[in-house]
């Protein structure tokens, strides 16, 4: 039976259910204990599982990740919370040089089953250090997996998949969606596999690829285009590393047009890679240049005026789709 819950509740449900299922799963991070996390994601977890499995840590992102790696070497499945994705830079070395390379340099003799939860994204007035979308840093690092759910259903199913995965997974949960995204989530053990995209809206005239908080405005823009007689297929990547190349190919084969939308900055965001693959491998399928609607190459500003200028939105996506369809 599916009940309606928020994106944030879905994340918590996944944590609680996985902790009940597997005693090797535990959470750690700043304020995750009695306080319940800066956003309330871990509320109640310490009451059910105790402090040993819901560990408040000092402000030490590098140690939080490093400790998680150490525990994973002994068969544990730690879920580390970065209070904000922006702070993940303080744990960067442990993620990219320690966790990502460990199996490789151990000749395949070890696994690092850790999950790093990173609340990301803007449109909440967070300013420079509470709004970032640093997923581009991590999709550039082999050995990691990177996911970014857009719905409560996926938030739960992808977190379960991430916890059960034997590789380090960076899990980007979008802050804007925490309480705004609400939807049906099955009670049972529904897993959303890593690496599989979802078609949110079928269409035959253009392909729009996006993820996270950009899925909703993309769908709204596609609805506007439908009124103009253009059917846009909206693909929610859900996983950024690995991403679902087959789903992209199938769609582009049908539509011959590609627009990529993301909240990460433009230069070397995942859109750069998707565009490169499209022209490198599917050049003859394309009837128009690959287009992108992204954050400009700047920092997330605080003022609402400035932030609305930077964020992709329905109007910007609609305009790009119109240009793409008319080409």
């Amino acid at each position: 039976m599916a009940k309606e819950i928020t994106y944030l509740e879905a994340i918590r449900e996944a944590l609680v259910e996985e902790m009940r299922r597997d005693p090797k799963v535990f959470v750690l991070g700043e304020d995750v204990g009695p306080y319940g996390g800066a956003f309330g994601v871990t509320q109640g977890i310490v009451d059910e599982f105790g402090e040993a499995r819901c560990l408040d840590t000092p402000i030490s992102e590098s140690a939080i990740v490093g400790v998680s790696i150490g525990a994973s070497l002994r068969g544990y499945r730690p879920v580390a919370e970065m209070q904000f994705a922006d702070f993940i830079s303080c744990g960067f070395d442990q993620i990219v040089n320690q966790a990502a390379t460990l199996r490789y340099r151990y000749g395949g003799r070890a696994t690092v089953p850790i999950v790093i939860r990173a609340p990301s994204g803007g449109n909440v007035g967070g300013g420079l250090y509470h709004s970032q979308n640093p997923e581009g840093w991590f999709i550039h690092r082999p050995g990691l997996k990177v996911v970014a759910p857009s719905t409560p259903y996926d938030a739960k199913g992808l977190l379960k998949a991430a916890i059960r995965d034997d590789n380090p997974v960076v899990y980007f949960e979008h802050k804007y969606l925490y309480r705004r995204a609400k939807g049906p989530v099955p009670e049972g053990d529904e897993i959303v596999p890593i690496g599989v995209a979802a078609i949110r809206r079928p269409g035959s005239d253009a392909t729009l690829v996006t993820y996270g908080a950009m899925v909703q405005p993309s769908l709204e823009a596609a609805d506007r285009l439908a009124k103009e007689g253009v059917e846009v297929e909206v693909i929610d990547l859900r996983s950024l590393l690995p991403y679902d190349k087959a789903a992209l190919f199938t769609s582009i084969e049908k539509t011959s047009r590609l627009l990529i939308v993301h909240e990460d900055v433009k230069t070397l965001g995942i859109g750069s890679e998707l565009a490169a693959v499209a022209v490198e491998e599917w050049f003859e399928l394309l009837d128009a240049p690959v287009m992108r609607v992204t954050y400009p190459d700047t920092h997330p500003p605080f003022s609402q005026i400035l932030e609305q200028f930077t964020l992709p939105n329905v109007a910007k996506i609609t305009e790009a789709l119109q240009r793409l369809a008319a080409y």
């Binding site: 140690a63 490093g66 400790v67 070497l73 395949g108 070890a110 050995g143």
Partner: protein
Amino acid sequence: MPPIKRTKFKLSTDELLEMFYWLKLIRAFDERLSLLVRQGKVRSGVYTGIGQEAIIVGTCFGLRKDDYICPLHRDLGAFLMKGVEPRVMMAQMFGKATGLSKGRDSALHSGVPELGIFGNTSMLGANLPVAAGIALTFKMEQKDNVVVAYFGEGASNTGDFHEALNFAGVNKLPVVFICENNLYAYSVPIEKAMAIEDVAVRAEGYGFDGVAINGNDVLAVYQSMKGARRRARAGEGPTLIECKTYRWHGHSEHDKAFYRTPEELAMWKSRDPLVTFTPYLTHMNVLTPEKEQETEARIKDVLDDAVRFAEDSPDPAPEEAVNDLYA
């Protein structure tokens, strides 16, 4: 140089001879590697610990198989003492398929979880939070295993060092932090890198004891380690043991180490851990000239066999460059 203390603890003749064997083997292994570099048979990645052997022998001797070590780039001997075959270590240095990392790294950035060996990355200090994570799991399971985490005095200036010691201190984790203070971080002397004389005092800031000892005295190291190990096993938390020592060679084999004087090197060579330990063994009637010759012959056989094995081993298949990235 203070004379070696007469031991208050009981080590049998066999145990003392075993210590002697390890000191000699580790020295000879590094010397052989140095020669192989000059012969062009080993390309790079050789960071010898010649002069520092007493630290490894004094801390690894008496460890249990289910204790963990987190050795440094200079600690090849720790891999050997924890159970990796000399021929596998040699193959690792040759970059062969039979090495620990299948040719992916010639240095000691590998590990063997089933032997309790977790190797470092090149980001010095980054192994310390991981050591704390391993120790956290022992505490969770209420087991009496210990984790031995090695670092240089140079790494004690990194953030990871402070985050890890703080984390281990506040959680009373069973870690013994071993500082191999060889007075130089590559070329930078300690007095340019820290405003204190003893790294050991840094432990106090994290709520546990630090002690500075003569790191060239294998029995002094063993004695300190034994106490620290006992406290860790009893749940009394971490200890920092700073072992004052000196590396005879440069930072790596291509470093001519012009930044220090011949007089300084000569003075430290007079404190050679072998030269000071051997007369003690002779005096105690533990070591006879025959036994010494026997040990040297045995070590020569071990190393000849290791080099032969490494030379005869196959190179890795080229595609190993992209294998073992994911479990």
